[in-house]
Symmetry: C3
Subunit: 232 residues, 3 copies
């Protein structure tokens, strides 16, 4: 019995070593768990930042297509259930209607200038990882040789959705802030915007009523003040 | 004794298995350590990139507030101990004085245009993770119906600080490079900028003395050449 | 023997504990392998996003140097084997020739305005991690006191290369879309661009033949439609 107890003690020692091994394993499990959590958090962060750049690319791409009146390419950037509303011309619902609206803006031909620079993004990803909102502005040089030449600016409040890994425009809402003759400027007033394009009726009236320069209007913000948290 | 040695040998074998377990654990520990180091480096990298986008959002937000003379919102974006210096009008120190300066720029009313597009960022995060510097430019459309209409541009050299996880402007320094009448342009010279606003004295004289167009001035860079490393 | 078998059994138990330790290790190895793979993927993603911001910084830096005719700083941003082609003036090959071309654009002196705002990036990193392509545009205010004053715009299709961890411009191709007198605008036609600078012959003729406004031309895209995948 004594000898057996002796061996038992030794085996207990072996067990102890084993158990100490088990102890490390439990520490390992804890550490692995912590790393997994950190990696999961990092993935969300890295994805959100990459999404910021993807949305910046997307809206910039939209602008280049609009410049050259490549309407089908521009319409393709919208989700099937997207909406578009520009310059108080009412709401167009769904990608098909957006396509119709865009085509009604005209056709690129010699003497056309239709630049819509896409500038100054404030992009916020939603926590769900599949949607985002952004404020942008476009600076416009628009006109036709022998006809009109105009400067203009609009502020966008847009929404985006990620479908099957691809970001699309879900909502484009452009508020014209000024639209003036090339040679007149903003001390002589603005140019009236056509309220309709080619007798194209919108699907719904404008969601916001406002006037461009010389009226002043603050397009609603999708975000509250990033420091004070006040307002929206 | 012999038998005991035999058992000892067997227990040694058990130990060996245990030790081999320990051996794996030590390899595991090494690998865990390597992963932790990689994750820590990744965190810094992902954070710095996210901070780039956060600062881009912040400065863009500033611009939208300035456009619409939302001075309290604009002032809220500055740190308590921030400084502001624009157009050679001297230095304003602290958020309260910045607020006073901004309010002195005027009030949004019908016929006001005060667009300050925020463009072309070069943003560098400091290694401490809590501060950053950036070069930006603003393209301005400024004027009042029936009064003046002007184009202008300024280059900013700004600093940012992260306080309790929130990025704020710590220093805004705008160098006006041109400011011209809407209908005159830069071959006929620029418009003189008011050196003072409403008898508002700065807290300190300008830190840099320079002239806008037709003078030429290279606003100092916070960075050296990104490829050659020369200059600053 | 019986006793020995007893001890053996106990040692087997110890082994079992050891083996159970080994079992955890194999699970640990599997988990470590999964984490390593996730971290490797995250590294590529975080690097690509950081590269997006680095290239945005680089091209913006180029613009600030061009504004002030800091030609050596601008030329230093190009790779040794880079090419440059602007405004149909032909192809310049290699950093040295690019430097010569840039210096031929003039010297900053009182009364010079040469702003080249760098705007609206669409940046795509290549899978190799060391190269990238981007579409940009520049909005120009160019002129000299007492001489000309002009507005212009060009679209860039550029390429970038990372050499020893530093991003450089490998190809800069600027397509002028309009270039007009400050006071005439785009309904009265554009200004002809000089096809040569100071009798500086290019190394090769233009790779693309096109006309600026009032001609219309769609600068080729380096990317297909980001949603539909059509075109390029």
């Amino acid at each position: 019995m004594r000898r057996q107890q002796g061996w038992t003690a030794l085996v207990m020692l072996a067990c102890a070593i084993g158990i100490s091994g088990c102890g490390r394993s439990s520490e390992t499990r804890r550490e692995l768990g912590a790393l997994k959590a950190q990696i999961a958090a990092l993935k969300l962060q890295a994805q959100a930042t990459q999404d910021w750049t993807a949305i910046a690319n997307l809206q910039a791409s939209y602008g280049y297509y609009v410049d050259k009146m490549r309407w089908d390419d521009a319409a393709d950037l919208f989700a099937r259930d997207a909406t578009l509303e520009i310059a108080g011309r009412g709401l167009f619902e769904g990608q098909d209607r957006i396509r119709t609206y865009l085509h009604a803006l005209g056709k690129l031909e010699r003497g056309t200038l239709f630049n819509h620079m896409q500038l100054q993004p404030v992009i916020h990803l939603e926590p769900d990882g599949n949607s985002a909102k952004a404020r942008w502005r476009t600076f416009m040089q628009v006109g036709h040789l022998g006809k009109e030449a105009r400067w203009g600016e609009a502020t966008y409040e847009n929404e985006y959705v990620k479908e099957e890994g691809i970001w699309k425009i879900r909502k484009l809402h452009g508020f014209i802030t000024f639209y003036v003759e090339f040679d007149k400027g903003w001390n002589k007033g603005g140019v009236a915007l056509p309220q309709k394009l080619d007798n194209l009726d919108p699907d719904a009236p404008p969601t916001v009523s406002y006037g461009a320069f010389p009226d002043v209007f603050v397009p609603p913000y999708h975000y509250s003040n990033p420091v004070s948290g006040r307002g929206s």
